[in-house]
Symmetry: C2
Subunit: 337 residues, 2 copies
Amino acid sequence: MKPTTQDVANKAGVSTATVSRTFAHPDKVLQETREKVMTAAQELGFTISRSASALKSQQSFRIAVLISEPVATWFNSHICGALNDVLQPEGYDICTYYIPDVTNRRQLFEEIPLRHNVDAVVVSSFGVDVMEIEDLRRLDIPLIGINVPVTQGFSATIGIDEYASMRLVVKHLHDLGHHRVCFVCSELKHAPLPYSADLRSDAFLRACHDVGESIEPLLIHVPREVDEPENYAISQLLTCSPRPTAVCCLSDGMAIPLLFKLMRSGIKVPQDMSLVGFDDSTYAKQFNLTTVHQEVDFLGAEAGRLVLDLIRGQQPEVQNRVLDTYLALRASTAPLS
Amino acid sequence: MKPTTQDVANKAGVSTATVSRTFAHPDKVLQETREKVMTAAQELGFTISRSASALKSQQSFRIAVLISEPVATWFNSHICGALNDVLQPEGYDICTYYIPDVTNRRQLFEEIPLRHNVDAVVVSSFGVDVMEIEDLRRLDIPLIGINVPVTQGFSATIGIDEYASMRLVVKHLHDLGHHRVCFVCSELKHAPLPYSADLRSDAFLRACHDVGESIEPLLIHVPREVDEPENYAISQLLTCSPRPTAVCCLSDGMAIPLLFKLMRSGIKVPQDMSLVGFDDSTYAKQFNLTTVHQEVDFLGAEAGRLVLDLIRGQQPEVQNRVLDTYLALRASTAPLS
DNA sequence: CTGAAAGCGCTTACAG
DNA sequence: CTGAAAGCGCTTACAG
C-alpha cells in the first residue's frame, strides 16, 4: 500500500535509479524525465523513506545536541529552535540529549547511542573535559561547540567572548562613576557544571582589575541549593557595608527578579542602585534592564551552518568564531548620585 | 570498520538473529547468551543502527510535533522538553515542525515529508481545521492533540479546560468584590491562528456571565501588529471610565510586563488594581502574580505516554483527557477597597 | 542521461 | 532458545 521508488518507477516508466536521482540529485536527471517522475510521485503520494536513504547512504540525518540544562530554558530553547530552523530544511533532525549530572556524565556519554547514529554532535554551552572530548572524538564525526569555555578538541566552535562582554559592563559602570560594584553569581540549579558561572565571574573580576584601581569588586555567590536565589542575593546585598552602588548579574534570570524585589524593598533602581543583567532575554526590554545582548538565534543558526559545512566536508572559514555582544543600555543603570 | 550485528555475532559465536534479539527483545534470549552478546558488543563499541532497524521494522522512530509558535516559547519549550524526556528513552526522536502561517498551512502540511517518515503526529496548542485533520488522518498514524480547541478527528487529546480555568479567575475576582473586570487579549505575534486567544476570551465572557449579573466584563483586544502590547493595553486601561478594578490577561507573558508598567505608572497592584495572569510561567512566582497554573511538564509527559500507547496499538484509558488547572493565589489580587 | 544490480544492516517468520 | 534466510527501500558505481 505504501508507495516505493519501485511504484513511482513503474508509473513513470523509468528505473528506480532514476526515481532516486530525481529526489537526491535533480540536476543529474533530464528535465523531462524529472517531470514525469515528479508527476507520478505526486499522484501516488510518494515520499522518500528516510530510513532507507539513511541506511544506504551511511548517514543518519540526525544531529545530537548535548545540553546540560533543560531545553525549556531561554538559551537552549533558542539555540535548539535556530538549529532546527537551519537543519530541518536540509533534511536533518536535531536530537537533544539532556545531561544534567556531571558525576556520571562520562558514563552517560557512552550510553547515548551516538555511535553511527548521528552525523554530528553539538555541545551547547557547557564545558566538556579532556576525557569526554576524547570519547566524542572517537565517534569520528564533526564536533561543534556553542559557547564552550574550552575550544580544544572541537571541529569548530562559535560563541561570545565572556571577558569582552563583562568588560563592557564594568566599563559602563565605571564611566557612570560607580566604585563599589557587586557581581551576583547564581549557579543554575539544573546546571551543576563547572564552567560557565565561574567563567563569567572570573571575567568580571578581571575586567574590574583591568579597568583600574578605582573599582572595588564584590562577589555574591548564591549556592546552588538555594530555593529563592534573588532573595538570598538581596539579603547579602543589604548587609554589605558600605552597600554596593551597582550590581551585575550572571544572567537576566537573576537580574529581573532582583529588580522586582529591589523595587518592593524600596530601593530605587537606578537611583539607589544600578543593575545590569546578561543575555537580553525574555522581559529584559520591557523591564528596562541594562544588559549584555547576545544574539542567540544567530548564534544557533550559525552553529547550524557550521554543522552543515563540516558534514559536507568543508572546513568552515573560521574555526573558532567569536560573536560580538553589545551592551543594551537601558534605564536600570544611571550615574552615581 | 564500523561494527555490525555480523561482527558481534562472529565475536560472540552466535547468529545475527540472536544479536538482534538481544537488543530488541532481551527476554527472548537465554541470559547466558545475552551476556556473551553484550560483552562482544561492548568490546566492539557496537550500537544498533537506527536506520537499519527502522527500515526493516517499518517504523521511523520519529514523532512529528506541529507547533504554530516558535519552540523558544514557554509553552512549546516545556512541551517539547517533556515529550523528549518520555519518548527519547523509548527510542523515539521528536521532530518539531514550526508552521507559523495559517494561510498556506495546508500546503505546508503536504510538503512536510511526514508520510511514512513519522510514527505519530502531535499537534501542540493550535486549532486544526477539518480539511487539515483529514490530511493528517490519511497518514494513518496516531494523531495526538495537546490543548487543541477541537478534539474531533484526533486519536487522543489531552489538555486543560479553558472555561473551567477562566471561571476560577472570575470567581476569585468576584469573591474579592470586583465588578468591573477587564480581560486583556493579546494575540501572539507569531501565532496567527484563529483559536486559542478567541477561546480564552470567550471563556472569560461566559464565566462572567455565569458568575452573575454583578460582573461587568470588559475586553481589550491588542492587535497582533502592535510592538509593545503591554503599553497598548495600559493606555486602553487608563482611558476606561470608570476604570476597571481588576485585569485578567490572556497569559503571564502579558501580565508580567503589565505589572511592571503599572508599578511604574504609580498604579499599585493590588491596592489600585488586581491583576491575574495565565500559565504560571517564568517569573510569575517571583513577581507574586496570581495566575492560573497549568502543569505543562506533566501535560507534555502525559501526551508522550499517549503517543507510546497509541503507537503500540493500545487505546488510552481516556481518549480526551482534561487536566485540572488551579488558581495560584498570590499577592497581585486583593479585595476591592 | 539512464538502467541493472548489488548491498547498506538490521528484523522476523519459520524451522529445528 | 537459536539459526538460516529473505527482504525492508533506497543509493550509487558501473556500464551503456
